[in-house]
Amino acid sequence: MKERMKMREQNPLERKNNFEEVTLGYNEQEALHEASRCLECKTAPCKTGCPANVLIPEFIKEIKNKDFKKAHYILKLKNNLPAVCGRVCPQEVQCEAKCVLAKKGNAVAIGRLERFIADFGIKNNLSLDIESKSNSIKVAVIGSGPAGITCAADLAKEGFEVYLYEALHKAGGVMVYGIPEFRLPKSIVEHEINKIQELGVKLETNMVFGKNINLSDLKEKGFKAVFIGSGAGLPKFMNIQGEELNTCYSANEFLTRINLLKAYKFPEFKTPVIVGKKTVVVGGGNVAMDAARCALRLGADVTLIYRRTQKEMPARVEEVHHAMEEGIKFEFLNNPVRYEGDEKGFVKKVFVERMKLGEPDASGRRRPEKTGEIREFEADSVVVAIGNSPNPVIQQNLKDLKTTKWGTIEVDENNNTSIPGIFAGGDITTGAATVIEAIGAGKKAAMSIVNYIKNNK
């Protein structure tokens, strides 16, 4: 049997000095090779692994036929952002995990094929050619992350007059402020945003729902429904000594400075960031990996501290692998206990406690336990990447909106919130999850909104 096609990558020694994309994508020949491995299973178990039910064998079949345009069409039916998902989906635990070939450790590289086709679509500026007749019914979408973008696009395709309101000055959510350029080029996100505007979606940035645009304004202007996709952007801290130090950042601050505000191009772009010679990153997820790899590219020697072992790390395997190749040091079974600074308040030292694994906790992962053994590391900066909670702004301003004890907005299986006509989806309802889950939620909510408006005419 043919081997899974490798993807070309920038050499680790080179790429650790630039912000250009790490993985280079398949060329046509490579894509054809990989596509030929798909067995086009009737049952297509791979589809059940994809939260958006992408028509996997169907689009792969068109690659085999070299009808990339058709493949693109099929792909886009279920996934509005395939160029993004092809790059950042945790495929190894989603679609590819369910592929029949996965048992032999040789799953079809669905994500890479998805990326190939999506990039073909971008290069050739393909559109979906959907004729939508405007019905002049206004719907507002709050937040322009993957959930909001998807919901807005699907509603526009149905003929609705969609206004997409984004708090920041740039649309894209985590795709622009969190995930770095070298993993997801911002030009791709921009392309997708342009595409939904071509569909008729009216994007308005610098608009914060609950601040300069409110539910009462929307009602007054005749809006019939609202979708909230405001994400999980509230950074968590550990509340340990020294977290207030000058060069101790939340991952959100660190990544926003670098990705959204382009501090890596300072002073061409005007927002600064200071990493110093040595950076310690705390955490084990994608966010921690992104922060560590950004710090490395800004010239720091980077150590990542995670309280469990590599096996329990929630980050994508590929990202951990890339980070290790680039020279990031990993200190597993360690947890920071305090940071020490100099007289001006800059981080100097990180004190960590060695941990050991105990009994499994609620998540099924073995719980890290303290050992009392403390060590110290030199560091000039620290990035705390231990997770994000749901954004609270909207919930605080809409008192009738039911929330859970985790602060997420409560929704039913059709993404209805407790207020009729208001729908929600993505990280704001699930807590920090994945791009494709947010897309899935945006799609489902769009359907629910269509039905809601039909029934309330």
Partner: protein, 271 residues
Amino acid sequence: MKKNEIMEKKKLSDGSYLFKIYNPEVAKNSYAGNFVIVIAKDGSERIPLTIMEYTDEWISIVIQPIGFSTKEICFLEEKDCFSGIMGPLGKKIENKKYGTILFVAGGIGIAPVIPQMMEFKKTDNKIILIHGARDGEHIILEKESKKYTDNYIICTDDGSMGKKGLVTNAMKELIESGEKIDHIVTIGPLIMMKFVSDLSKNYSIPTTASLNTIMLDGTGMCGSCRVEYDGEVKFACVDGPDMDAHKINFDVLLRRNARFKSLELVNGEKK
């Protein structure tokens, strides 16, 4: 009129500029205590500035050109548009009758004080203002200040206008004279607010300070603006900017506000 268009630009005697900006959505929702995040041009920094006046259509801001981004903004002219204005952000003041409210403003800090005096006047408070600055030229917005105050005290470092000396001296004098003060609001340089806060603590007068921390998003997403508040972490952009001064760790704040000093731009270039 386009959104974010500069309707009027006025130079004040201290070198600051007052901008009137067209943006009905922001203006309609604004109230004393709110600020906006301003982006001068595409690629510029996101800068927090207090909303001074608000109507149904426009807001005004007063900005002091102290570093690269504030200067970049001051180069904008009438009819130019800001690339972005986001807000109103932060908590609105809780407007009620305290009795006598003493405002202690330093330099440009008078701009954020004005809307507060205006609103607190509406709820029948007696308003006393101590405005301190380097010299007479740095005493700005006198006309507006007079309008809302029952007692308006000016002090300058060099004595070129009003009393000579620091705002804390004037404050002490006022309190010692037997004036009963129910609440203090202080806005100005951090170091001044720290001293005002220390002093008011001695007299056990509840005090609010407006925190000018370094911000990015202004919506609680990044934690850049975090302060140590009664031993807890709070975000000035959503929990403030006006916060109980006696609970703020000013020393941490002073250090954090200087954290990018080494990267300050001179004419758009690194030093």
